[in-house]
């Protein structure tokens, strides 16, 4: 019985866990044959085709990772400049009000879009998806390669906006019209145009990449890999990519329309305007339309950042606590449910915008509903840890840090989701504290944990645990020191996007707090140098990792070569018999059973059907 692809004899009946027990075959290791012939991979031979225009998803993943981290460092420096102005206004006279708003805008756009989205989807997605589903590469490597270079060009256009006359746009990352394209807002000439062009290029690039991720996961899994046997990392990245495919169009449309408003004086978003005594040519447009379009994109966008983090942290926790993730199926449905619901909550960003007042009822309801599957996931992570064999290493510390900061940020989200509570808190530091906790710190904890976890696979060496623990504690305690006090600033009404406190009642009470937050931010920022040093030095002097140092179950650790070579699996594709969470199964020899272990090898263990 050949298990290779055989054109004459490829039954299309599905093999799911139910079918396994129902087959008449006595062979308990039976997995149905391949449906499709092997992928025809392109092998580059020159330096350019192997490292620059490379079509190997792993190289592309690293390219995305490095480019995203570069933009993240730019965003980090911008945040230092912002904090310096807020904490010690007299210290930095070169930061004018215009500069401050430009820093705010670029920091926000870079971090949300160019750093987090690119890192999770482009970086982790490209590297892990083919490996975790058992494919040799993405289904369309050429387009995958193009997608990275499109992203790269988008980053170049964005960075170019720093150097044009007028500087980058200072409209806030939300780019609201009419101010964004009118004088008075910094960068309202070239800056905003370059931003809009860069975003459009980003959307086009990520559509190309996203298609690859979705199709590879849906149509290119290996034998035995059902959707419900995929690691939650893949579920998170998959759902996030599906969201991206459906949410980015709204961003593209709003960018195009705003570009036309600026360049051709159309009035899509521009109402009749009186500017310094002069009546402008605009008439009849609707600024709130932009807000609807932007947030129709914007809300799914934050889940595009959060869902991969949810998925990854589930895998990290189960590997380092040596326990199956509690309620895997519900975790999957929660991810899918959060993804679907995320399209129906967008106007909770618009309670004070002057939109149709009845929308508040609808969107507040849906926002509170979306909290339910999210909370379910938090409970399941905690229950996974309960009575587990927890290894308190750096990865686990970052996972615990994620849970704590995400719960904090998530709860403040419930505050803001209610219309009445949102009205006094909107546009205050409470909102800033909320979204930094839930989108900045928590996913960042996951990213760092994920790097400590997968670095041995990518580089073949372990990162230093000692440096890692220093890095964790400074980052975690420091980040809490930055954002927890901000909630109080928000409660007393300190507004966001303010260059300074002016002669306000806040000056006296908020000064000390602002100084403290600034110092904490600078310390945490510089502490990341420990991380960078750890990575760079471990590349040469780190302990060699060998195969599967964490004793994990999922496929990416089971390649014949470490780091995985082009084509990932060598001669034969892997065959899957179980889910990736068989840890500490009663009766098994080891405390883990890899996905490729056939049932005949663990016949004495109480393995459940998955």
């Amino acid at each position: 019985m050949s298990d290779e692809y055989n054109q004459k004899n490829t039954p299309l009946e599905a093999q799911s866990s139910e079918t396994i027990s129902g087959t008449p075959s006595k062979d308990i290791d039976y997995v149905r044959p391949a449906e499709l012939p092997e992928q025809d991979l392109y092998h580059g031979h020159s330096f350019i085709t192997k490292w620059i225009f490379c079509q190997d998803a792993k190289v592309i993943g690293i390219q995305y990772f490095l480019t995203a981290v570069f933009t993240g460092i730019v965003g980090l420096v911008l945040s230092w400049l912002m904090r310096l102005q807020l904490g010690f206004p007299e210290l930095v006279p070169f930061i004018t009000a215009e500069h401050y708003y430009q820093f705010v805008t670029m920091h926000g756009m870079i971090m949300v879009v160019y750093f987090l989205t690119a890192l999770f989807l482009g970086g982790f997605g490209n590297y892990l998806i083919p490996l975790m589903v058992g494919a040799r590469d993405m289904v369309f490597p050429y387009v995958n390669m193009l997608s990275f270079w499109m992203f790269f060009i988008a980053v170049c256009v964005l960075m170019a906006s720093f150097f044009v006359p007028g500087g980058p746009t200072g409209a806030g990352w939300t780019l609201y019209p009419p101010q964004a394209i009118l004088p008075g807002t910094p960068g309202s000439n070239m800056g905003i145009i370059l931003m809009l062009v860069s975003l459009s290029l980003f959307v086009i690039g990520f559509t190309m990449g996203g298609l690859n991720y979705i199709i590879t996961i849906l149509q290119a899994r290996t034998r035995g890999m059902t959707l419900m046997r995929m690691p939650l990392t893949i579920w998170g990245i998959f759902t996030a990519t599906a969201l991206a495919m459906l949410a980015f169009p709204a961003l593209l449309v709003s960018c195009i329309m705003m570009t036309l408003d600026k360049m051709l004086e159309t009035s899509f978003f521009m109402p009749a305007i009186l500017q310094a005594g002069e009546v402008l040519n605009y008439e009849g447009g609707s600024p709130v339309l932009f807000q609807h379009l932007f947030w129709f994109f914007g809300h799914p966008e934050v889940y595009i950042v959060a869902l991969p983090a949810f998925g990854i942290v589930s895998d990290l926790i189960s590997v380092h606590a040596r326990k199956n993730i509690f309620g895997y199926r519900m975790m999957v449905w929660a991810i899918v449910g959060i993804g679907a619901l995320s399209f129906f909550v967008w106007a909770h960003h618009m309670y004070v915008s002057g939109m149709n007042p009845w929308f508040g009822f609808f969107f507040a309801t849906t926002t509170l509903i979306i909290a339910v599957p999210t909370a379910l996931k938090v409970y399941n992570w905690i229950i996974t840890l309960f009575r587990a064999n927890i290894r308190m290493n750096t990865v686990m510390l970052f996972c615990l840090g994620f849970i704590v900061t995400f719960v904090n940020g998530g709860i403040t989200g419930i505050f803001l989701g209610n219309v009445a509570v949102d009205i006094p808190l909107s546009d205050t530091y409470f909102v800033i504290a909320h979204f930094h906790m839930v989108m900045g710190i928590a996913p960042l904890m996951v990213i760092m944990g994920a790097v400590y976890h997968w670095f041995p696979l990518v580089a073949g060496r372990m990162l230093s645990e000692k440096l890692g623990k220093w890095h964790f504690w400074i980052t975690f305690l420091g980040a809490y020191s930055i954002y927890f006090p901000m909630h109080y600033l928000g409660f007393i009404g300190v507004p966001r996007r303010y260059y300074e406190m002016y002669d306000s009642p806040y000056v006296a009470s908020a000064t000390g707090m602002n100084e403290f937050i600034t110092v904490a931010a600078l310390i945490v920022g510089f502490a990341q140098l420990i991380f960078i040093y750890n990575i760079v030095s471990s590349l040469s002097i780190g302990k060699p990792a060998g195969k599967n140092p964490w004793k994990a179950n999922s496929l990416e650790w089971l390649t014949p070569e470490v780091p995985p070579a082009h084509g990932n699996w060598g001669e034969k594709l892997p065959v899957i018999h179980r889910w990736p969470y068989d840890f500490n199964v009663p009766g098994a020899k080891e405390d883990y059973i890899t996905q490729t272990t056939p049932p005949s090898e663990v016949i004495s263990a109480k393995v459940e059907k998955t």
Binding site: Q7, K8, N9, T10, P11, L12, E13, A14, Q15, S16, E18, V31, R32, E35, L36, D40, Y42, V139, F140, Y142, V143, T207, L211, N212, I215, L218, Q219, A220, R221, R223, G224, M225, T226, L227, M228, R229, M245, L246, F248, P249, A250, L252, V253, S254, I256, M257, L260, L264, E265, T266, S267, F268, N281, E283, G284, G285, S286, L289, L293, F296
Partner: protein
């Protein structure tokens, strides 16, 4: 051959959960390139939907009257103004090219290279005719004073939405036409039978590529159906 058939799989919604619960592929018997084109079209549907929804919102919220589309888009045959004549011809051309494309896909699968190639060229000519008529319409309206920023017929947003939406649609059609010419060449040369590798992607292809291109062109036709209904007729 009875094994390798979709008929053995359960159908309907039961089939859907069966397929989704299966290993390897979720969409049975569908080549990955086809699924990729479908998901891309889903994304593009959202793009055009956002355009049309914005148009609806813009038109519904003007306090200035919207131009009468029957009059603005009429052509004069002799002395008689025929409303929406050009649009009707454009619809005819696009539906016809959709039809020739569907036939081209069929002949491609039957490996009838001659019929397939000529039908692809016919589709390309149809697409070019459509774009040409769209350009003519643009020039006629520009001549009458319609601009993206204002127009003599009514609300300012009319010209903005018109040029933006038809421009995007026309661009999509043009890209489709370019690919049609490329594929016509491939078909006539027999690249889909010889397994010739693509110039850029270096991947081998087969006749499913024509079906994939066909999906794109039918999508473009679909968008026109919606634009015709919402923009010109409404």
């Amino acid at each position: 051959m009875s094994d390798n058939s979709l008929n053995n799989l359960p159908g309907g919604f039961k089939g859907m959960s069966h397929d989704m619960g299966s290993d390897q592929t979720a969409f049975k018997g569908v080549q990955w390139g086809k699924v990729m084109m479908w998901i891309f079209l889903l994304s593009d549907t959202f793009v055009f939907s956002c355009f049309l929804i914005s148009y609806m919102k813009g038109r519904a919220s003007t306090v200035v009257d919207w131009p009468n589309t029957s009059e603005v888009f009429s052509l004069h045959v002799g002395d008689v103004p025929v409303p929406l004549l050009l649009i009707a011809i454009m619809t005819f051309v696009l539906i016809t090219s959709s039809g020739t494309m569907a036939l081209a896909v069929k002949y491609g699968y039957e490996k009838n290279r001659k019929m397939c190639g000529w039908l692809i060229l016919a589709t390309a000519i149809g697409g070019l005719t459509f774009v040409g008529m769209q350009v003519f319409e643009w020039s006629k309206l520009i001549h009458e004073g319609v601009r993206p920023w204002e127009n003599p017929f009514g609300a300012k947003q009319f010209g903005s939405f018109f040029f933006m939406i038809t421009g995007f649609h026309g661009t999509h059609v043009s890209i489709g036409v370019i690919f049609l010419f490329i594929y016509a060449r491939k078909v006539f040369r027999g690249d889909f039978d010889n397994g010739k590798r693509g110039f850029f992607t270096t991947m081998k292809s087969d006749y499913v590529a024509i079906e994939i291109l066909g999906l794109y062109l039918h999508f473009v036709d679909l968008v026109w159906v919606f634009i015709f209904a919402f923009f010109y007729l409404w």
